[in-house]
């Protein structure tokens, strides 16, 4: 069974976090769509998707994500559409990006509760993210020109790229 990944803040998924806090990570866009990523059941694309997520950020920071069974979405009768992601990894955008559509308040609440009951909440530290980004650029998976990083973060990333290339 595949998984659905949503980036968010791990602290919003603490067991004692109030549901309003958790819902902040499930805030749809102006078109009432929630951007998620499909993770293969063997998780072979997990780190690549995390790298893709990091490419559309302005800073190199930790990436927190929530992973839940695809079946949770199906059970809640939430529509899923296959749409192009906006990251700097074109292949990841095309293959694994999805939108959850037509989310009513009730569906969002149901989703938050279901995910909170059964999900994996993981943090990838900032340093690992920097290495993932550097490796993605070196391997040609990540289009540096499409990244949204601010210049100080780009300078840091260049240092990591050099270190990775020297290995």
């Amino acid at each position: 069974v595949p998984f659905v990944l949503r980036s968010g803040r791990r602290s919003r998924w603490y067991p004692d976090a109030v549901i309003q806090e958790t819902l902040k990570d499930l805030q749809p866009d102006v078109n009432n769509k929630l951007s998620v990523w499909l993770i293969e059941d063997d998780r072979s694309n997990l780190m690549r998707v995390i790298c893709a997520l990091a490419t559309w950020r302005e800073e190199i920071e930790n990436v927190d994500y929530i992973l839940t069974d695809y079946q949770v979405i199906v059970r809640l009768n939430i529509s899923i559409e296959h749409t192009l992601g906006a990251s700097a990894d074109d292949e990841a955008n095309e293959r694994w990006h999805r939108n959850l559509c037509d989310l009513t308040e009730q569906k969002r609440l149901g989703l938050a509760q279901a995910m909170k009951e059964k999900c994996e909440s993981v943090r990838i530290p900032q340093k690992d993210i920097a290495v993932l980004l550097a490796d993605g650029i070196i391997a040609g998976r990540v289009n540096r020109g499409k990244m949204r990083l601010k210049s100080p973060a780009l300078v840091k990333l260049d240092r990591v790229i050099k270190a990775q290339q020297a290995r």
């Binding site: 980036s7 803040r9 791990r10 602290s11 919003r12 998924w13 603490y14 067991p15 004692d16 976090a17 806090e21 902040k24 805030q27 990091a54 950020r57 302005e58 800073e59 190199i60 920071e61 930790n62 990436v63 927190d64 909440s121 943090r123 530290p125 900032q126 340093k127 601010k150 100080p152």
Partner: protein, 212 residues
Amino acid sequence: MSVNLPVTPAPLMIVNLAAITAPQNVWFGNEWSPESGTEFHHHSSLPPNTAITSITPDEHPRSSTILRPHSEEIGRKLWTLLEAAQDETFEDGMESDFSKGLTWLIQEYGTDAVEALAYFIAYEKADPEVSAETLRRLGLIEHPKTYNFRLWLLERSLQCSHARVRDAAGLGLSFLDDSHAVPYIRHAIEKELVNMLREDLQQVLDQLEIHE
């Protein structure tokens, strides 16, 4: 999102709140340590009714302390910033109006701005979400003059009562990547009751211990 801040003008508010909530003759706990576990130290030589104090600019807050009133201008600007931040939803890795304003304040006013922030965070006067965002940013801002004060505030904030604020303090420290924080993080892990947060702090500790 609610912020537990009173609606009085900023400079007045800072002084008044301090007088109410902080013990008199108190200065920020620059002698706080994991060993002592004490947040604030009484200092009998300070004049009475002095609630807000300052830590020497550009010096490490643990090394020396002086008394200095907050600037009205900084207080007012910080107040406006914190109030406006109530309506923002923060997203990891993305700048926000709040983060831009915070960065500007620190670049403009240096340690005076961090000192004013320290008051709101250490005394838990600001909304926890806003405090958490502040702490994350304090770890990311490039501003050498305030480095030691920011490091101190992040270490100190590991003791805050809100889990998400402690988490943000840990993140801020991981961004600074300074092994000075190791004993503070060790102590926070020992005391931490939230399992997920304890794991995250352990992750930060593992990162920082590499430098030791």
